[in-house]
Symmetry: C2
Subunit: 366 residues, 2 copies
Amino acid sequence: MSGEKGFLLTEGDLPALSIGAALLGTGGGGNPYVGMLRTRELLRKGAQVRIIPLDALPDDAWVGRVGSIGAPIIGIEKISEGGECHRAMLAVEEASGIRMAALIAAEIGGANAMVPVITAAMAGLPVIDGDGMGRAFPEIQMTTFSIYGEASLLSALADDKGNVVVFRKVTSALMLERLMRTATVAMGAGAGAAGAPLSMEFIRRTAIPGTVTQAIEIGATVLQARAKRQDVVEKVVEKTGGGLFFTGKLVDVRRELTGGFMRGHALLSGMGDWAGSEARIAIQNENLVLWVDGEPKVMVPDLIMNLEQETGEPITTEMLRFGQRVSVIGLPAHSLMKTPRALEVVGPKAFGYPEILFTPLADAAA
Amino acid sequence: MSGEKGFLLTEGDLPALSIGAALLGTGGGGNPYVGMLRTRELLRKGAQVRIIPLDALPDDAWVGRVGSIGAPIIGIEKISEGGECHRAMLAVEEASGIRMAALIAAEIGGANAMVPVITAAMAGLPVIDGDGMGRAFPEIQMTTFSIYGEASLLSALADDKGNVVVFRKVTSALMLERLMRTATVAMGAGAGAAGAPLSMEFIRRTAIPGTVTQAIEIGATVLQARAKRQDVVEKVVEKTGGGLFFTGKLVDVRRELTGGFMRGHALLSGMGDWAGSEARIAIQNENLVLWVDGEPKVMVPDLIMNLEQETGEPITTEMLRFGQRVSVIGLPAHSLMKTPRALEVVGPKAFGYPEILFTPLADAAA
């Protein structure tokens, strides 16, 4: 097997993947921790999951997409049973008559980084090193696959009780989002989703590449810095090529669950270099916009990552608590997320901020 | 073809079927008029629809169920395109691998009496003389098929835009109701539904028999009495074996659309024999309970049918208007709807009236 491309995921990779995915979740996407434990259990029982690069499979190979769907605030209490996405994938295979050759994450950010790994372990498939967001976003049509014109919207949803719903024909990605979101609420606000098979040729053109590896590397940076008692935030900024945009104490947080989403905002009072300044972060499952003293500084689709200042622990929006000391790192989104076509779907205007013109962060790696 | 059982539905039957179905709709089920026009068009174009009795097909023949789903108050503006239920039925056939030999109405009351006829005309199938309610009810698990333990809940929903959702595996009828209801709302509050194939053996044990014929006969009674300038209400009471429970003027009506249902109540001020009395009718899409001077007189699953006093025109709950003169006829439900098992699902308690003990109307025909 040594001649195969990519690498076998090891138990040792999992804590790093979990932390890195949570950071790329930009506050949302749910906590990958439970999924990490489940993956570890599967690996210990002998499952093998290979992470393969975008050039490992031929153009006509079919790739399945899986991910959990639901409000993350529910995710804390309603822990996924683990087989939901596998059952959803099998339903898509049955309805389409197509067998998958590999899986890919719809979103690398948060719990959905781990979901394809769990499903792959159950199905005996490899996982593509890449995803459809390079982060987390609250709606399923916000993937590059959807933005760049996936051919079919056939999808399926499965819950932990045994319910399976197949979206056999769907007229638009927005309609699929509505149908899936309402079905998820009917299922108790948490379900596993599988999308239509995508050809490897399409994946190569549209996936955000290398994001599984990126998540593992970011997580490893956090863990190493902690072990060496270094400044975690500084190391993450170095590793990712992002920038530190604010450090402050959380003085107010408002959240409400409406229509399957958690919406709200957090207020931070500046510390250190930002003493006397105030920051506000708008939330819809994920961190959407960071304002410092009223000025928008980082905005979707660029990434706004909140870290606990001391430990570098990612702070998801449902874990925001009064008094936390938070470092806010901004990271440029991948160029596939910043085309005019993509910004129509994932830019500030699409999230209800028409007054904010998207101003991309300078990409240190570019 | 003359040796075949049942009868070919003629254009002349349609106005009677439409009026009879509206009356059996007990205020709900939507108005069959548009479906009647669509059926007439199909018959004029040469479609033939045979209405067959319960003993026409062998035990192992498979029967499909179709019906529109949605809030009737929406139905007025969102007119079904006609092919929704046919597409839903085809999706069930595809997912189950079973071809239907006939169709049956899930509910004879209201627009859903006409829907299987339209679908049958499109699919080239006969329609069984019977249904799963003998009336209309607001929720899909309120059919005798569901009450008496249909084996599979596989179902599909299609809208007028081309969206098709398949409920591939469903753990309970209540869950199916929730999933279908929320998907219908996502589709714009109106869709065509198809249920799992039922064996003819099961249909024979559980369907309310003869209700297509019954609807045609009731409607014909109304039309004949009108033509002969007879008392329409009296003739309907005679024909159906029901009773006249109130005549009065509509003095108040409250309706609101919540969670896909229209809920509310109507108040009537007595006239003639009921001068000085007051009646109240509770509504959830259909008429649920009739109180006269505070006493519950007729209650689900027995039928409460409101007729315009002069013309005998059925008054659906969305057509209730201040000042209307209304005759309220009560009609005993079929015995399959009054077993303890059925009452758990369609009795007063199931509709939120735990204080009302179901007291069946005396069945004149029994």
